[in-house]
Subunit: 337 residues, 2 copies
């Protein structure tokens, strides 16, 4: 029987890459029964708000979503819809696997997975103005929060993943030399969790600035990384850069109950509706989703077909070195399946 899941096509190139993904999944026997819902600008169009209650209700029911890129409306004080979804469904882990696929780049053997704490830190900062030099808005403050609870939960998720996937090492990334409490607490809790995995998986710790340098110089030295929200945001994109950008980068937002899978790239309004968008990152996100629901064989088949197509440059989009379009690359992938 099929697995109930929410499908959010999203904005900009979202609908066309969604079509490519559903076509490929249909071709694979379609493991999911989709409840299509809107969010972002499409949410405003359909129901007047960027994150409609129907969309929330659907995910609350299915606990599983594949989400296209969303445009957060500018101005009007809207907070990022991605952030709202993370908070709403307590999606505590942002998981970003990064692996070399196109081997014609600068880096050949990148293979790392970043576990980013997804609910706390400076991402939920309370901010405000303070009078300064006679200017009532001359100074701003920004207060972030971390809890032991989430530090432990994300670290455990990273170590559990490492053990389950035969990964060799977990790197704990922090800035405890400066943020003695905020990052210091994270480091201490992470160290404690690490001890529980003694003999099962190795670990080390890195200061975030040095880590950024080392990722660029010695990416082979990284396997699983666990860190706080803002550092994880920066390092995940840095990692994507090592393998050629966001064109193949999927992300998972995982909670205790629900999980939302996404391509990491944006909605690219400039090329929307022109069949120029590369659907591979979104397909890779579908791959993570298949893995998440235990369909590991399907996940592996899909991933192999995407990677094979990209490596062969078979009917791929211009950003991948071809002259194809959104649907032609989906067809190439289906031919390989």
């Amino acid at each position: 029987s099929k697995i109930q899941a929410t499908l959010i096509p999203g904005d900009g190139i979202g609908p066309e890459i969604t079509k490519a993904v559903t076509a490929v999944l249909d071709h694979m026997g379609q493991p999911f029964e989709w409840d299509v819902q809107q969010a972002g600008m499409a949410g405003i169009d359909a129901e007047g708000v960027p994150l409609p209650q129907n969309t929330i209700d659907s995910i609350r029911r299915t606990n599983l979503a594949l989400k296209g890129p969303l445009t957060t409306p500018v101005g009007g004080g809207f907070t990022s819809i991605n952030l709202q979804l993370r908070q709403e469904f307590e999606l505590f882990a942002n998981v970003r696997p990064t692996k070399t696929i196109k081997t014609d780049g600068r880096y050949d053997n990148v293979d790392m997975v970043i576990f980013r704490e997804n609910l706390e830190g400076y991402y939920i900062a309370d901010e405000g103005y303070i009078e300064h030099n006679g200017d009532p808005e001359g100074k701003v403050y920004s207060t972030g929060y971390n809890t032991k609870e989430e530090a432990r939960r994300i670290t455990r998720a990273a170590f559990d993943y490492a053990v389950a996937n035969g990964r060799k090492k977990v790197s704990i990334v922090h800035k405890a030399n400066i943020l003695k409490l905020l990052s210091g607490m994270f480091l201490e809790e992470a160290r404690e969790i690490a001890k529980e995995y003694e003999g099962k998986v190795a670990w080390d710790e890195r200061i975030v600035d040095a880590c950024a340098m080392q990722m660029v110089m010695y990416p082979d030295d990284f396997d699983v990384i666990v860190t706080t929200n803002l550092f994880g945001d920066i390092l995940s994109d840095l990692a994507a850069g090592l393998v050629g950008g966001l064109g193949l980068a999927p992300g998972a937002n995982i909670g205790k109950d629900a999980a939302i899978f996404e391509a990491v790239h944006g909605s690219a309004p400039d090329i929307a509706g022109q069949q120029k968008a590369n659907p591979c990152a979104f397909l890779m996100a579908a791959g993570l989703m298949l893995e998440h629901v235990g369909k590991t064989d399907d996940a592996e088949r899909l991933r192999k077909a995407v990677i094979g197509t990209v490596q062969a440059k078979d009917r791929v989009t211009p950003d991948l070195g071809g002259t194809g379009n959104t649907m032609s690359i989906a067809e190439a992938i289906m031919d390989r399946l």
Copy 2:
């Protein structure tokens, strides 16, 4: 007449790389008259504290210092001595030039200069515990501050530098989509300053995560970068990674009155006293210092000699691909001068 300057040999490999630097500068006619002072562990040994009053007084008098790597004692609640110096002398700009020197790496044409706000942000966070789940230390808060004043001062410094050095572009790096006030204010002020340079130098703006990715993918696209403290810390080291690490990376901490120049690397206690340390980053820091006091010809001569030596692998240390030592590389540089 010679220029009065404070010389802080520092800890670990500090004294031996300092010898190499003074030897090279002596060979150049020694533009500086050094007042040698201690800090770090050497400060504790000499005067019982990591940042002795004599050292502070000396810099207060000379307004100019060349500082070796310092070890901040672990435990005992010591704050980083580098941070103390920045605050004490109001060194508002951390300037990190990064240029490809060894062309056998992954990146050939890196040439960027990062201007990092050096006094504010999360680097001066007030932190504390909050009760959570019955644990009095279950949650931590961390409050950072930014002022319009410093946002404007660092941005102006970056644009002035760009104009004075014929640089093509300034990139303003922020995370205003999340830190709407802390980073948002920085972005707004920086945009305003940018307008004053209309027609003199181009500028763009980047979100820090995307910026990290782009630096890795398209380093040619960067020229001058200006950003807040914590982002600057991470991106400066990332940039150093693009050109092979910290072995040639100098940094300047610039205030209205005083300026302190440093190699960016640490004190490397594991190899201290063995003549294994590479003094080139510290020599490049001396080069920045010469430039700062208007001795641009000397600065250029010194830099050329260091770069020539490194590129020819002439008597260089193992980290630079040779079998030489700290003094032999200094001698090679002197031969070239």
